[in-house]
């Protein structure tokens, strides 16, 4: 059941007030999530996107946390796939930034 609360914590970051509370004092925010296991608190504390992916957290909730931390989509991809992006991207008429 604590998986639900882990997801819930990420979902709540869509709320500007909850997000402000998270940004103001992350430790306090995380400590307040009483239903989480120690591992889940660590995941949040360390913004461990790879572990969230392994736990099955939906990508769109991972994305919310990533955006709050200004982590780009590519970094999310690297973290969750365990390898660098360029190795598996199909070259496809490419937009090059």
């Amino acid at each position: 059941m604590s998986f639900y609360y882990l997801c819930r914590a990420l979902f709540e970051l869509n709320d500007p007030h909850r997000r402000a509370a998270y940004r103001a004092d992350r430790e306090r925010f995380i400590d307040g999530l009483e239903a989480l296991t120690d591992d889940e608190r660590r995941i949040l504390r360390e913004v461990d996107l790879a572990r969230m992916h392994e736990r099955g957290v939906p990508i769109y909730l991972i994305r919310t946390l990533a955006l709050v931390h200004e982590i780009g989509f590519e970094e999310v991809g690297v973290a969750t796939s365990g390898r660098s992006r360029g190795s598996d991207v199909q070259p496809a008429g490419a937009e090059k930034a």
Partner: protein, 291 residues
């Protein structure tokens, strides 16, 4: 009676906003959105039914409806952790939403009705900002769970589209309405295959949907959809729109661009809606013809 005056599908990747140096592909895509904007404006719809999926902005693990409809006068933009992807709002058409919701229940689709503070995320905000922004007509948001499994089958999505057509065409509101589906095409945003764009998949989808007989796509299974990556399931949104249009008309791919910087195969497809199929000859996939 009401009249379908325009129908189209397009991608909605928020990563579009992150392209630092837009290239030729993005320029071609932008031109296609512009064509679509002109087409919708010329058609002068009173409202647009926008078919998309919620990305955990309204719905959560407590309740994730398979199909839902917004029945509000106005919709704000979802925050999405960044304060929203569009600095605007959406006007609703409550009368049309109510009529559609009631009619769809009559047709056997037990939608979740969202009367309250529904927010619309990038799936609507991004395309609408490209298609007229605040000048865009009022919307009727129709949500399809193409986000989180189990998801509705493409056959069910097609049937929903057919039912939308029957209900709105018969609506006494005497309105002109348009359809817009957003999402897809291929994209994989995490894990194995991250960032891959499946051009073959994308061209298969576009090839099937632009031609008469497009219902053939409903034979695709979830496994077939995964050829385009986990998030290619959003093609289901397009299939609802295709169902509204029916089998008998043509379509035109205005653009297809595999934008690697947007991590997405991006497509814009417009349907010819001049031929109005009769219910008695085209009802299928679980939507019964009237006696």
């Amino acid at each position: 009676m009401s009249e379908l005056v325009a129908a189209a599908c397009c991608s909605h990747a928020p990563t579009l906003t992150r392209i630092a140096q837009p290239g030729e592909g993005w320029a071609r895509l932008r031109e296609a959105y512009e064509q679509l904007r002109s087409a919708i404006r010329s058609a002068s719809p009173d409202f647009v039914v926008v078919v998309s999926n919620d990305h955990f902005d309204n719905f959560f693990l407590d309740a994730f409806p398979t199909f839902a409809i917004g029945v509000a006068e106005r919709y704000d933009v979802a925050d999405e952790g960044v304060g929203g992807y569009w600095d605007g709002h959406f006007d609703g058409n409550q009368a049309a939403s109510s009529a559609l919701a009631g009619g769809l229940v009559e047709e056997g689709f037990d939608l979740t009705l969202c009367y309250g503070e529904v927010v619309l995320d990038h799936a609507m905000g991004l395309p609408v900002s490209l298609l007229g922004g605040l000048e865009f007509p009022p919307v009727v948001p129709l949500f399809v769970n193409s986000t989180w499994g189990p998801q509705p089958t493409l056959r069910r999505c097609w049937a929903l589209g057919r039912a939308v057509r029957w209900v709105l065409d018969a609506w006494s509101g005497a309105a002109r309405y348009a359809m817009l589906a957003t999402g897809g095409l291929s994209h994989q945003l995490e894990g194995e295959g991250f960032g891959q764009i499946a051009e073959d998949f994308d061209r298969d989808v576009l090839g099937l949907l632009e031609r008469p007989g497009r219902e053939a796509i409903t034979a695709w299974t979830p496994s077939d959809l995964r050829r385009g990556g986990d998030s290619a399931s959003e093609v289901a949104n397009w299939v609802v729109c295709a169902g509204v249009v029916g089998n008998d008309t043509t379509g035109e791919v205005l653009a297809y661009e595999p934008l690697t910087d947007a991590l997405t195969g991006m497509g814009v497809l417009r349907f010819d809606v001049s031929a109005a199929p009769q219910r008695s000859t085209t009802a299928s996939a679980g939507v019964e013809a009237p006696p």
